[in-house]
Symmetry: C2
């Protein structure tokens, strides 16, 4: 019988296998973005990473655990950064109320920074994340819920104070919409082709994207409560 799956790593491991692990993670990030989780095989993944086929199971345990590792590597730090930025804004504001835009910035800026940082996977990771939002696989859903729980609840409190005309429930909906627009736009430059008209040069697209998204979302969040019967269905046949 061979060596057991490593329960905990020895001190000797890092220098060497760090490289293998990172290469797997990088290749996975890129291929999961390009083809999605199910459509990416471990054979093409390990070939792209230049490692042995068995390396994924050895280092991560399974393909699913690899996917979670791909997400955790970037998502956890990004969400921590979001919370830290929000808290810094609150500190800087002294007792004064933060504006809705400012709170929104604390959500968007860390994502924007990540998308600009080639060393951290740049656009690749955010596309993977956007896709993961829409994936029904339970191991993805429960994982994402856990990863987001703290960040979302922290921001919900902040928005609740900045938008006193909203009920807790209405805000939950609107934050849901915010996450939707955010993840969808981050998920796909390719999806942009849904719109016939292509977006011109404009320095870097991903930067411009979030700068345009921010006013849109801020206005949506600040919108007055709808009177719940604006949509008249009876109008039709």
């Amino acid at each position: 019988m061979p060596v057991q799956r490593p329960a905990r790593r020895s001190p000797a491991m890092d220098a060497l296998s760090q490289d293998t692990k990172s290469r797997i993670l990088d290749a996975a990030e890129s291929l999961f973005m390009e083809h999605g989780f199910e459509a990416t095989s471990l054979r093409q993944l390990t070939a792209a990473a230049g490692v042995n086929l068995a390396a994924v199971n050895y280092h991560f345990g399974s393909k699913e655990e690899l996917f979670q590792a791909v997400l955790t590597r970037r998502l956890d730090p990004m969400n921590q950064e979001r919370i830290a930025l929000l808290e810094r804004y609150e500190r800087e504001a002294g007792g004064r109320q933060l504006s809705c835009e400012k709170i929104l910035s604390a959500m968007l800026i860390p994502a924007l920074r990540l998308s600009r940082d080639e060393r951290r996977g740049g656009k690749h990771f955010l596309r993977v994340l956007g896709r993961a939002y829409a994936d029904p696989a339970p191991f993805i859903r429960t994982f994402l819920s856990a990863q987001y729980a703290e960040m979302i609840s922290r921001f919900k409190d902040a928005f609740l104070k900045a938008l006193p005309h909203l009920t807790k429930q209405e805000l939950t909906w609107r934050l849901h919409f915010v996450m939707g627009a955010l993840s969808y736009t981050l998920a796909g430059t390719d999806a942009l082709k849904l719109m016939a008209q292509v977006i011109p040069d404009e320095k870097d697209n991903d930067e411009v994207l979030l700068e345009r998204l921010a006013p849109f979302l801020a206005a949506g969040l600040k919108a007055p409560l709808g009177d719940a019967k604006r949509l008249e269905l009876a109008a039709g046949d």
Copy 2:
């Protein structure tokens, strides 16, 4: 050699195979929603539909063509309905300018009607659609682009007149955000669990959803142009 794949159907076919085809489409709609395209096998699909394994390839040609058929069956009529509704609003308004909310209604109401109609798959289909938006597979992307081209361009014209302060380019972005929020929210009641707080009873969830989404999106569309440097990245480390 057996019968060739049917290039065009004979008149005799409908009464019998309509049933088989529909049962396949219904099962596919349901399973694609639950597990996604890649993760649904033809074996579980045909078993759920109560038809023979070979039936999918016989009636649709391939698994990919089945997926496109699942989308077309609902999406094409829905987009036609959107255009028709928009044109009716324009007729009813005489020469007067349509409000942003009214145009938005023409987009949302047909989706809402579909989601309420159990005979047309109800929520199932819209979840499949929401997932398809985020799928990178080329056969899905090109198919959706083609399906949406007419509808999007028609609505872009309408919004452009209703929102004269927006450039064509800015509007393209904002319509992109609208589609994002829409598809994301339609894609997943399950994804709602990303937010810690669950939404209470409130008659039917999918209805309420779009009624809350409408004011949010209208406000976003009407937002003044941002000054493109609201997000200060330098602020950090």
